[in-house]
Structures are given as C-alpha cells and as structure tokens.
Symmetry: C2
Subunit: 468 residues, 2 copies
C-alpha cells in the first residue's frame, strides 16, 4: 500500500469508528457496504466498532454489527472484549445481545416481538443473571395473592411444585446430571413435591405455605390443565427432619445444613426461587406477633402478609410495614485507591482464615445509598471516600437482605480499623486481586465465592481500566 492509500484507509477507518462511537447506524452501514473489511478493524487503542458501540450503549448498532458477522471475541489493549466493556458501563441489554448464540437473529425482535404469538406471555430474552439469587424464573403474580380460591386451585394443580423447608433449609439432593440438560457446574437440586405428596403437612400446626409464582415458560403440551406450573414453599419447623425426608423417593435427599454453603450449590434459577422462599419464611419465623400490640398475627395473602389477630390494634387502620415482609437494604462497596491500582478489603473475625472481602453494612433510616457507602467505609476502615457508583444488586436470603453493590474512590488512604466491625483491612494491588481470583499458589488471600456480589465487584474492578 502506498503512503497516500494508507492515509486514505486510516481516515476511512477513523470515520467508521467515530460513526460507531456516535451510534450513527446509517453511516456505519454505508461505510461497511463500500469497505466490508472495516468490520473488525481496530483503532490505535485496539478498540473495534463493536466495542465503541457497546461502550456508548448503542443497542441497535451493536445488533447491526453482529448481523454483519463481526468478531465479538476481539480484545482491546486492556484485554477487554465488547462484552466486558458493555458490562462495565452497565448496558445489560447490550450484554444480552452479545451473549446470544445466533447473531443472525434480528435485534429489533427484542422490541417488536417480546410477546409470543400464542399465549400473550412474555418470554424474557435469554440473559445471564447479573448476580446469584437474583434470577426470576417465576412470575410472582402478586395481584393474585388475595384471591384464596385461585391460590387453592393452583395449589392442587397437577403440575404444581411444592418445596419443603425445615427450619428455613430447603430439601435438596445431590445432582445426578440427568435432568433437563443443566450444566455440570451445578451440584445440588431442590426436591420437588406434588400437592398429594405433602397434603397432610399443610394442616400441621405452625406450617406456613407461601405462593411463589408461576413459571414464565409456557406449559408443556402435556400439561393437564394448560396452566403454567405454580410453585409453593412449605415451611415446617416442628416436624423431624427424618420424617420429612422419608417422603422423598430420591436418593441422597437432605436438608441444607449450612445455608451459606449449601444454597450456593443450586442452579441460578433454583437459587432465585429459594431467595424469595427463604426470605419470606424467615420473616414468618421471626414476626409471628404484631410488633405494635404484641398479639399473635395470622398469615394472609398466600403467605405474603400477616395481620394482627386483635381487632382493637391500630395496625388495622391504614397500611403499615408491620404487616409485610422485611427487606433490609445493605451497601457493599469496593473502595478503589486514589491511584486506582489498589483496592481496600477487610476481614471479619468470622471469616474463614485468609479470606478478605468488600466492606459492607446496613443502610440506616434517613440515608441514601451514597451516604451509607461513605459512612460505612469511614466507620469500618477510617478511610474517607468521594464519588460512588452503583454497579449491581443481589438479594441475599440470610435472612432477607438486598445487597446494593457499589464502587467508590478513596480520598484518604490511611487505614484505621474499627476492631468491633472488622479485624483487619488492607490495600491489595490489581495483581494480587487477579491472582486471588484465579486461586492457586500465587493467591495473596482468599476471595469470597463467585456467587457473592463481593466476588463480582472484584471481578468487575479487575476488568476496569483507564482505557474503558
């Protein structure tokens, strides 16, 4: 190529990449039709058109580039793919596009045909669940909860699934890998019962039944009543584990012994169901009395409300949060050093030896998310932080937290640990974090398991650079 040709080619590439960055679909398409080789070419910093479109949230353009067959596996100079870039900037709809197996699928279908032709039932686009416990395979149908007849009829449905919980632990079994093509990474599976198999347990004193929702998938053609399958959780505290386990025909059935460990072995879909069920059952187990007058309260609305039995109680006037399950918002944050090459992690006394994690704490009354982040970091580590960015959230059903995950940048670096809250806090370099995420002999510390939002925040940060 002669000098002049090279310059013209570089200029064309620059125009093409600019158009991609700006989301100019018409110009991108026109340039590509004249020079198809532009499709996968990168600019000086290693960024392709796909990365730039993903960076700036241009959903339609990403779809068009994929349809042109562009290579989504290319990496920029910071080893980030277009997916990494989209994920960092929070463009989850673009992440979904980039993860789709079939690039020839028209991206516009996302907005034009989200409703299936047959059942007017929405089939959500296949997507990675941002965090463990946050999958929502069931439609909660909350408006149906007060309709006792409807709930009862769904409970008796031929396809209905009932999960058994003993003192907040679900009955589960070792995964035998023969079911519905799940990946081999899953290790446990919830035991599923029909109404007939547990009918007698529904009448036991202290048992609590919670309607969880109906499957979003359309019912199989074999479904006897053509209704989507309903799911319930049945919580039992006074029965013996042995008696309950006898009902399972499956080998190796057991109740989770250690929720923090065992629940993390479920598939993402089942973990999502358990997150709802366990939080609501935990609430019933601690909120059996009216907090306003002390009377016993009764279960209503298919397990989603408790009303005071005393008719004189003022909780019957108006709407009160005393009647509904608690969700406790928590901030969990990765504190980035002002030089952006290190992060602050701490360890609580109860952590396994060698483990460090993100700082975290409950949001207090009258605080916004950002203020809670600043207060908690200062209280626990003595470090003062400035800007705060929301990254993702995670329900954590032990018993009922909503973890709000953030990144924040430190304004001071001296650590002064509050010994009550954490026993040690330390700055770790990017390399130390990467080595620890990879595990193995070079790991400077143990990271929390991949199912935790702390792990996700660490992963997220390692993918973050000034090039993003």
């Amino acid at each position: 190529m002669f000098g002049g040709e090279r310059a013209a080619s570089e200029e064309l590439l620059e125009r093409f990449l600019d158009a991609a960055a700006c989301g100019d679909l018409a110009l991108v398409t026109s340039l590509l039709s004249n020079a198809p080789s532009l499709l996968n070419r990168a600019g000086t910093n290693g960024w392709t058109a796909l990365m730039l479109a993903a960076r700036n949230g241009h959903h339609g353009l990403v779809g068009a580039l994929l349809q042109h067959g562009c290579d989504k596996s290319l990496l920029n100079r910071s080893s980030q793919s277009a997916f990494d870039v989209a994920k960092f900037w929070g463009h989850t709809h673009i992440c979904r596009l980039l993860l789709r197996p079939d690039p020839s699928l028209d991206p516009d279908q996302l907005s034009s045909t989200p409703v299936s032709q047959e059942g007017k039932r929405w089939i959500p686009p296949q997507s990675p669940h941002e965090t463990y416990f946050s999958a929502e395979p069931l439609d909660r149908l909350s408006a149906k909860r007060p309709d006792q007849d409807w709930v009862r009829s769904r409970l008796k449905g031929p396809q209905t699934v009932i999960l058994l919980f003993h003192r907040l632990s679900p009955m589960m079994r070792d995964q035998d890998g023969d079911q519905e093509g799940e990946s081999s990474a899953m290790q446990s599976r919830l035991c599923r019962f029909s109404h007939k198999e547990v009918e007698d347990l529904l009448e036991r004193p202290g048992s609590v039944l919670v309607f969880l929702g109906v499957e979003r998938r359309r019912p199989p053609p074999s479904a006897a009543d053509g209704e989507p399958r309903a799911w319930f959780a049945l919580g039992l505290d006074s029965e013996s584990e042995e008696e309950l386990l006898k009902r399972s025909c499956e080998k190796h059935s057991r109740f989770a012994q250690n929720a923090h460990r065992d629940l993390l072995r479920l598939s993402e879909e089942e973990a999502g169901v358990v997150a709802q069920a366990r939080s609501v059952l935990a609430w019933h187990s601690r909120y059996s009395h009216c907090s306003t007058c002390g009377s016993v309260s009764r279960v209503e609305e298919a397990g989603h409300k408790r009303s005071c039995e005393s008719q004189a109680c003022i909780s019957h006037k108006g709407v009160h949060n005393t009647c509904y399950p608690r969700v406790d918002p928590v901030v969990i944050m990765l504190v980035v050093h002002p030089d952006q090459s290190q992060v602050l992690l701490g360890r609580k006394k109860v952590f396994p030896s060698g483990m460090f994690s993100c700082l975290a704490g409950f949001i207090e009354p009258g605080e916004c998310v950002e203020a809670a982040v600043r207060r908690e970091v200062q209280e626990e580590s003595g470090v003062l932080v400035g800007p705060v960015w929301y990254v993702c959230s995670q329900p954590w059903p032990m018993p009922s937290s909503l973890m709000i995950g953030c990144l924040t940048v430190a304004m001071t670096t001296e650590i002064n640990v509050d010994q009550e809250e954490i026993e040690e806090a330390q700055w770790f370099t990017r390399q130390q974090v990467v080595d620890s995420l990879l595990g193995g002999p070079r790991a400077a510390f143990t990271v929390p398991p991949r199912q935790t939002i702390a792990h996700q925040l660490l992963r997220h940060w390692t993918g973050l650079s000034a090039n993003l």
Copy 2:
C-alpha cells in the same frame, strides 16, 4: 484562513478533543500551551473538551481545564452543559468540581487535603445534595450509641440541640430569614431546644430519645466544651400539642400538620436531619413489642435498638433484624418509550387532581433492584421493560422508605392499567414533560414537587438525549 490552514486547525482541534475524551492530561496540556484558543472550541456536535472530559469521568482533566479558565457555561447542540453531561453519567465528583465557585482552586486538593490541619475532622467538599432528605450534616457516630455515659454527657452539652416531635411531626416555625444566611427559598425551620428547656419531658412515659449525631462542622471558638454540637430527637405522643408549644419562645411555632407538605419546606440540611429522626421515631411508634414473642421491648443504644424484655425470647441469641429499625427499599422508575421521545407516567387515586408521577413499588424479598423495576412496571401498567439504569436514591421518611430511582426502557407500549394500584397511566412527550416542569398555562399535567425523586428523574430525562 486558507484551506490548508483550516484543515490543519481542524485536525489540531480533533486531536485536542480526542485527548480530552481519553483523559490524556499530558497531551491536552501540551496542545493548550501551543494553541490556547483550543480551550473553548467545540467539535462538530457542539462538544467542548470540558464536556468530553466530564462525559468520560476524567476528574483530573476537568480540574485542569477549569484551571485554564475554560467556559463551563457552554452548551452542546442538545443544550447540555458539561455539568448536565457529568450529572447524567453519574460522575458526581465532577459535578462538584464544576459547581465550585473558585476555579483556581487546585483540584488535587480534593484528594490531598480532605482532612483539616487542626481537628482531623473531615470537611466534605461543597456539593449539591443529590436528592431532598439525603443531606447528612451530622456524623452519626454509630459506634458511640452503646456508650450510655458518653450519650448522657452529650445530651447535657451546652450547645446540644434537641428537636421535639409530637406524633412524628417536628416542631417548626415560619422562616424569618434572619438566621445564618440561608437562602430565601426556605420557608420553615426546626425549633431547637436545649437540654434544660426540655429536661422534664425526657422522663414522661412513652417519650423516646434518639441520638442523631454531631455536627461535622468544627465547633465555634465560643463553644464551652470545645466539642462538636450534638443533636437529639425527642418523640412525645401523649402530651398535648399546646403544652409543648408553650415551651417555644419563638412566634408561629407549630407542629407539622401534613408531613408530606410541611416537611418539604425545610432547608436541605434540616430535611436530612428530619429524615433520620422521623424514620427512627416512626419505627418506635409501631415496633414497641417483640415481633418474635409479643413481649414489650425496651429502647437501647441511644434510640437505635429495641430489645425484648423477656429473657426467654430467642431474639436474645444472635443478631436479628427484629431489633433494628426498618428501612423499606422501593424502586421508582421513569419508563422511557422505545422511541425515546416519550415517558410513561401514572396517577394514583390519592394524587391531587391532574398530577402524574413515576411508577413505583416496594422491592420484595428475593428481588434485585432490576427485577423489582421490571415486575412493578408490568404489574401497574402492563408495559414490559428491558434495561434498567440506577440514577440516584432518596430516603423518604414517611415512614421509612429508601427510594431507589432508575431509568428503564420499554419493550412494549400498550398500556393496561391495574386499577388497584393506579387509576390511569399515559405516555407523555418530551415537550409535555418540559412544559409541565416549567408549570404555567401550557402544562399538560402537574409534576410532583421538586423535592421528590420523581421530579428529579423527570428533570434528568429531559436533559438526556441521543447526544449524551
């Protein structure tokens, strides 16, 4: 200018703007020293270097451009200033820089001298409070709450401020505009009492005292004990309003009659204090009994904990959320039409005539923020939404919500209102929203007041365009 010169000048501008977009401080500085006129020049889309640096979160570069005296009032073709752009992208630390009155202040001071020389007390950078009720003028000092001696001594401090609440309404008075230089936009002010003035009330049955924190500002030189001023809230329910009002020497003192209206008249700082105080007092008023066994519970930790009086209660083993104030997370979201030119707003039956607002609802157990947004929009309006972005959050002390504000994009447009939740929902154009925000005769509907997060989300969206 000849053609060649113009091309060279355009090329220089392009390099300059690219460097600003990438955060290349060295290149920007070098180009500026050779061609100072670049400073305020805009590219083809009207974006200046300041806007590009603000867009991409380059804090140091924004500071450097401001030091060079760049014009921060310039607007791009979408009428957005660099501040609008930084705010949209959530770079609050850059917003702060852009709002600073003195551009000659070294931006690096932010990270190098956040701690004052004298008192090791952090003086937070002047910043606009993102949302009403979220200001944090007090340091909550939560670790001090269990130290009864310390709390008692602070209560009796000569500078200590005690706020009186009657049935969750603070005593306040009409603003006379002569105090501490507050702006004329404020209309009401909290009545402040000393320990001596209300000492007898502390012993009244049913009164609840809550330690709120100490002022972040250093004490004035006249402070008798050199300690930062402590703030408390005293909640009284059985006394008569008249008796309590007699204690105020100030004219026009009154208890807020309508919290939703009257509390919005406070300054941002006082609103932040009231957000904490009212939420905690509301919790005491509804959670006087142990929800696990029904016994009466007693106040501990300076008003931030309640423990069951029955020693046999299992709530004494381990840590339980039953003992701590509730914070109920809520999602509130502005649903943007797929064509991005309209937004979906709804009205509840209880709304004032003509008012429309963002859809909203409580986050349920086992839901992440994004899932709650999707469920609530579908339940209330029948519209299905895809991607979700966090914008900002707001504590709402009626009684104790945490509003998590999001933008989301609709994937379907047909409205099917759930009559239980809202009575009407409607798509409004950008022009209709702008007219309504401005008020006046062209307003198509009434927007919620500026202190609400719904108002802020609407304002935020009107500043958003494909050009951002």
